[in-house]
């Protein structure tokens, strides 16, 4: 399976909080890659913090579109502890809510 790597810092800088940017990454880069059966690596290197709203706008819709198999196809790279926890929170509540 081929893969693409998206450098989040290049789009957001140190603080990933702009949901419009997250939506653009999701719609213009992640979803087209997934539809081409590519694996997506979201690289958070140099990103110091992210809001829950940003991570939600980035990945929540993927759970609805592809189910929780999305976690086999989208990989999170170089996340600090804070960002890791926020990704866990969003992944948890989206999986809890699947089927609603």
């Amino acid at each position: 399976m081929s893969q693409i790597e998206i450098l989040i810092f290049e789009r957001t800088g140190d603080f990933a909080e702009n949901k419009d940017v997250a939506r653009d990454i999701r719609i213009k880069e992640i979803i087209p890659a997934l539809n081409k059966k590519e694996k997506v690596i979201l690289n958070f290197e140099k990103v110091g913090a992210a809001t829950q709203s940003f991570i939600h706008a980035l990945i929540s819709d993927l759970f609805r579109k592809y189910g929780n198999d999305i976690l086999d196809r989208v990989i999170f790279k170089s996340c600090n502890e804070t960002i890791t926890e926020i990704i866990y929170i969003v992944a948890d509540y989206m999986q809890e809510g699947l089927g609603d």
Partner: protein, 281 residues
């Protein structure tokens, strides 16, 4: 005077015609503070004192109007450094500002956007933040998807994780989760700080807690130590005030671990409420 009051006055001023704004002569010692915070500029009134405008670094963020997502990003990049905080503290303050102002931009439906200001208090080593808007208010927004008969009921719902006015669906929409205010209340709760929400006639205040070792987050804001009112003069919009005491600001990642657990439990409880019981005869 708490910055939230300045934000309220400035937000209100934007809804009133300039010629109808009258300002009585102020004798209070805080007059220079009002000038520095930019209150008179918002009121369109000439202050009758001259002060030397100091560089604001390390002390305050003056009243600022934010209408768009890009303005918010610029504000966070340029203004938060003015508070000269340590990296971990700046992260917390940036987080609070981003989530609260984005709430206004996305839900308040007001062309005046959000009015924000912040002040550092040396004595308590705390940052106090006030954000006000003159939009549709929390009850109107929540009622798009959930029944809330009063403003305080709507505030209660808005502070619960996973409740958003944009959908009834668990997990929210692709752009909204309904988690922003719950996160902010959690940050204040864990740090035992002050947090108020005022919208319509409803007012919720998280009361300061005494220090305990145990970290408890409640998904229902009414289970926290709080006070509430539902008969205040009607505020057309929403106001949020937060104090963050810097020397007791917990590591953000520890807080997030607690939020994760509370959030998941809240969703499971809500799902369980919808379960039907088997019938036995």
């Amino acid at each position: 005077m708490h910055p939230v009051v300045l934000s309220m006055v400035a937000a209100l001023a934007l809804t009133i015609k300039q010629q109808n704004i009258k300002c009585q002569e102020i004798e209070a010692k805080s007059k220079p503070y009002f000038v520095r915070m930019g209150l008179f500029k918002f009121l369109g009134v000439e202050p009758d004192i001259n002060i030397i405008e100091h560089e604001s670094a390390g002390r305050f963020i003056p009243l600022t109007q934010i209408k768009t997502s890009d303005e918010l990003t610029r504000f966070i990049t340029e203004m938060i450094p003015l508070l000269h905080l340590e990296a971990e503290q700046a992260k917390t303050i940036g987080y609070i500002v981003s989530e609260l102002v984005r709430n206004v931009i996305e839900h308040a439906r007001t062309e005046n956007g959000a009015i924000i200001c912040a002040q550092y208090y040396k004595k308590s080593n705390s940052i106090r933040i006030g954000i006000a808007d003159t939009g549709v208010g929390i009850k109107y927004t929540i009622n798009q998807s959930h029944p809330a008969s009063s403003d305080i009921d709507a505030i209660q719902l808005a502070l619960r994780p996973g409740i958003t006015g944009t959908t009834k669906r668990e997990g929210g929409t692709e752009q909204n989760a309904g988690a922003g205010l719950f996160f902010i209340k959690s940050i204040a709760s864990v740090n035992r700080d002050f947090f108020v929400v005022y919208s319509g006639k409803g007012f919720y205040k998280l009361l300061k807690k005494t220090a305990t070792k145990k970290l408890i987050l409640n998904s229902d804001p009414f289970q926290d130590r709080h006070s509430k009112l539902d008969d205040l003069p009607f505020w057309n919009g929403t106001i949020v005030g937060v104090d963050i005491t810097l020397d007791q600001t917990k590591e953000f990642s520890i807080l997030l671990k607690a939020i994760r657990e509370t959030y998941s439990n809240a969703i499971r409880e809500r799902k369980k409420e919808r379960y039907k019981n088997p019938q036995f005869i």
